[in-house]
Symmetry: C2
Amino acid sequence: MTLKIYGMSASRTSRNLWMAEELGIAYEHIPVKIADAASDPDIARLNPNLRIPVIEDDGVVITESMAINLYLAAKHGGPLAAGNAAEAGLMAQWSFWAVTDLEALSLTVLLHRLVLRGEARDAARAEAAEASLARPLAVLDKALARGDGWLVGGRFTVADLNVSAIVHWLAAARMDLSGVPNVADWVKRCRDRDAAKTAQKLP
Amino acid sequence: MTLKIYGMSASRTSRNLWMAEELGIAYEHIPVKIADAASDPDIARLNPNLRIPVIEDDGVVITESMAINLYLAAKHGGPLAAGNAAEAGLMAQWSFWAVTDLEALSLTVLLHRLVLRGEARDAARAEAAEASLARPLAVLDKALARGDGWLVGGRFTVADLNVSAIVHWLAAARMDLSGVPNVADWVKRCRDRDAAKTAQKLP
């Protein structure tokens, strides 16, 4: 049975679509919308949290976008996957770090600089989030400088994919990243990959 | 070189100490306090985020408590570790789910029901967090019912350890878990393990 990826591209599902494209594996995309997830019968059957993304892979059901990508990398191998236990640990580390230190703040910037319109948009909230992002972005910048422009193993891996999928929100919201030049360069290199572009064009 | 685990037991480091005890591996515990982490020379050298926990394992440095445990499980194997790619995916899934859906709310309950004293304690914040926890705890309860009392593979694994280390905060804060009886029973079974008790007694 083909891998099924549930969730519209303009959501965290984009990370998993990007991953599937990087791996060059066959998959079926079911673009369930964020707003429809709670009432969608497939989502109700597959994810008790009633949200996207979720994948169904020959009977294996996995939720949480970061975990899905670590699973797909480990299953299919290749340069994006860990070559040993240390690399796997670092790929998990960076994925957890992105979720705890970057994601909520970056989503605030995305919403209040780009997505929300009119009164719903709050520039002060975006500014506060940008100020709080200075410290984690500096950590990321230093890591990229030390790692020859990549997070793990001197090459593009699932760690770069998972973290840059979030930092891309900041780039899309035109946040000034000139103070963290390694981050600015890296997120562009990540997002310029053919697989990222293909995934972004999906419904 | 022996595994070194940096961080006081009364912190997220307890998860990693518990894991090392479960695996029965030799390790050195350096009980850096939360308040001292930002100025500790070892932490400055090992973790640019300037916080605990962090481990040093024969030259491999890993941060993020959940990632450390997934790394230790994968490296040392045994019943707590994944037996295949699907189990590894589910162990990562539950660990990410705990971080995104449980951890911040559970910490609020712990702080405002147990840790903070006097005016710093805010019962209304604890109550709001408890109300928000109803939905994820119901998801957890259903998963435990389906999984014969465990999250992955019908046995105690790193997934149970990582998630129950957070739910334990709720039990410690005496939150009423009678509405989620599978969760209440499971967190007790997890925390009654010798390795959990040994780790909790560490400085």
